[in-house]
């Protein structure tokens, strides 16, 4: 059986009296696109720093493709590419020079390096400004180059730490496309973000972190299944019959009348909505207002921590 691409086993990290990670454990299978979601300060960057051997854990261990990460095993680092949260490129060099430099650090040379750099520039949409100094780039272009710099040596495990912070929507889409393309090409990706929408859109499996703990880790549907959908319904008059019939709908788990509104919690919002509309027709009650709320990661986080992701 093949080893997971990444195994994080009870990793703890302390900075003096402060604890940044309280025994985090999870696995990422080879070829998986794994999302790590959590608010700022949750410990995501610390965890990625440990995985990429920038930091040593206080306790626990990390394995990459079955090999334990240690400061001495420098060859293991060739398997990993990291895109730090902050830009990590030389602004006085051109885009091409940056990619050449990082490629050479990982042992690429000559024609293969030039080809690889050209491919990255094309993939990142930076062919035209390739020979311009980076300090003349827009924020989005820098972000794309920041991603490209981690890809020159063709890592098998790519660690992306908030890669879209401060970028325009166009560059964000560019990053998303490249992440999907890399993953489709077999690269294992760990994508951290505090943007719920990004993680939800990209990652089939997600770990949720808060205060240095991994509080949930599952596939997206499984995480969402923890929560019910919400339907708010307003009709001219609330009748006892309506109340009774609504509670008998198959997916409804709870129904409550509050301030002239009918509030329903249900397992499947779409099916329940269809049934609800037919019920109102049958009872000849006109619909005055309707709001639905599907389960999402924001609500999952709220459900798990009692706080919003952006609090």
């Amino acid at each position: 059986m093949a080893s997971p691409a990444l195994e994080v086993v009870d990793v703890r990290k302390r900075y003096g009296p402060a604890t940044a990670l309280h025994g985090v454990s999870f696995e990422v299978a080879a070829g998986e696109l794994f999302g790590l979601l959590g608010p700022n300060g949750a410990g995501k960057t610390t965890l990625l720093s440990i995985v990429s051997s920038l930091l040593e854990p206080t306790a626990g261990e990390v394995r990459i493709f079955g090999r334990r990460v240690t400061p001495r095993d420098r060859n293991l680092r060739r398997l990993v590419g990291i895109v730090p949260q902050e830009l990590a490129i030389y602004s006085e060099l051109t885009a091409r020079e940056n990619l050449h430099f990082f490629g050479e650090l990982y042992g690429l040379h000559g024609a293969s390096l030039r080809q690889r750099v050209a491919a990255i520039l094309a993939a990142m949409g930076l062919e035209e400004p390739a020979d311009r100094r980076v300090d003349t780039f827009s924020g989005g272009m820098k972000r794309r180059l920041n991603l490209g710099a981690a890809l020159v040596h063709q890592p098998r495990l790519l660690l992306l730490d908030e890669p879209t912070t401060g970028v325009d929507p166009q560059s964000r889409n560019h990053v998303f496309e490249e992440v999907r393309r890399l993953n489709a090409a077999g690269v294992t990706i760990v994508y951290t973000s505090h943007y719920m929408e990004e993680v939800q859109a990209l990652c089939p499996r997600i770990g949720i972190m808060d205060h240095g703990r991994l509080i949930a880790c599952d596939t997206l549907p499984a995480l969402l299944r923890q929560l019910q959908g919400l339907i708010r319904l307003r009709v001219p008059r609330m009748t006892p019959l309506l109340n009774e019939r609504v509670q008998r709908l198959p997916h409804v788990t709870r129904a409550e009348t509050k301030d002239g509104e009918l509030l329903l919690e249900c397992g499947d919002v779409k099916v329940t909505l269809v049934q609800l509309v037919s019920l109102l027709n049958e009872l000849q009650l006109p619909l005055e207002g309707l709001e639905t709320e599907e389960p999402n990661l924001e609500r999952v986080f709220l459900h798990l921590t009692g706080r919003g992701l952006r609090d």
């Binding site: 051997s53 920038l54 730090p84 990590a88 030389y90 430099f101 050479e104």
Partner: protein, 506 residues
Amino acid sequence: MPVWTIAKKELRLLFRDPRALIILVAMPFIFILILGISLGEGFGQKPDDRLRVSLVDEDLGDVPAKVREGAALLFASPSAAWPQPLGAVALAEVNRVDRPPAEPWSHVVMRDLAETAEIRVEVIPDRRQAEQLLGESKRSAVLIFGPFFSQNVTRASFLADGINPFYRDGVKLAELDAVMLRDPTQLAAASIIEQVAQVTLLRVVLPWMIGRAFEKLSEPSFIDDLGHEVRLPMPVTGRKVPLSDFLILPEHKRAVGSGVQSSLARFFPKYKLTAKTWADLTKSESHAGGGADATAFAEEGGGMLKRGAVRYQILVPSYTVMFAFFLVLTVGWLFVSERRQGTLKRLRAAPLSQAQILAGKLLPCFVLSLAQGFFLLAAGKLVFGMSWGSEPLWLMAVVFSTSLAAMGLALLVASVARTETQVAIYGTLLVLILAGMSGCLMPRELMPEQMKQISRVTPHAWALDAYTQLLLNPAPNLAIVAGACAVLTLFAVGFVAASWWFLKLD
């Protein structure tokens, strides 16, 4: 290979950021240029050379003395037709103490000055140049011996018909056909030089006059005069008769004169009152090698830059050493910039050791430091006309070891400073304090002895020691140079060891 990759990148960054090049190359050059132009001529002179008495010698000499000197040379010359004994007689005649010296009196004065401790005599070719130097405040005073100086000194006498050069304050220069020209902006310095000249003239003129006066006591004319003045009672008759009645024969007069001289010599045994020089008068020994220190005037350096002036032998190494340590800023900025740009994370995540990262970053800085040192020494020679001394190859060793020490210190600062501001503050303070302590900013000869010892704690002082040997000592002590290079290397090792302790690449 990764070391070379990082080094290439650093060199590229250094050349794209003009700060480093300006600080390391342009600034020291500009410093040397400005100070070279603005420093006075005394800079770089040894302290014991400083009291310089400048003079112009227009003295034609005493004509009779010249004649006697010519005769002596004629008689003494082995190639002359005259027999040797005759030449020896002529020489004895020339050197008789009752005669003025065979050389011009101005030379006697110059020799006396030159033999005086802490005085350096400089001979300026002519009065016009002396006036020009005074006008430019390059000299505070110049003593001029006029054409009749020797004749007038020879004529100086206590006799009624002689020249009396003395007055309340010493010697009247005008009476002797001499003059002291002064720079009105440096009167204090001029008065010191004048006092020195006065004392010397007194030492030369006074013995000459005293000696001649006492010699008169044995001359027949004086005995005659004495004979007429003194009247002695006859033993039997009691009649007083002049002494001259007893001194009729010349040999009697000579005997009395000789007796007077002998009595004087016995009465005043510590002095030889008939001597013509201060040394003879006071019966003290003359200095050996008198007059050897008198030097001809030479303009220090040429052109506005004063190319070749001795100041560059000090300025160039001083600022080469001082600015070598400005590498602290360059290296500090390289490290801080790597942190600020976040690229240090990528370097640390790459398959590199900490030593490889450091080597890659420091190697181009070291090369830059060497280039800086060689550039400044080359500029010193080509632009400022400095000399590389008699052992120029050793300069390479000094530049190399100084750069090593500078690199070590730079790494130490880079390991402690976390921001550009910290680099600027720590680096600039450190560089200036060490430069001030070590003698880069002012010659160490001007420091108190205790401070000179303290300066040894700086690598700068050792580097300056080596440069001093190589650039100022005509016969450099290579043991000192090699020792200094070794100490500089030890400084480098110590700094690197300390910085390894502090350094955290995160």
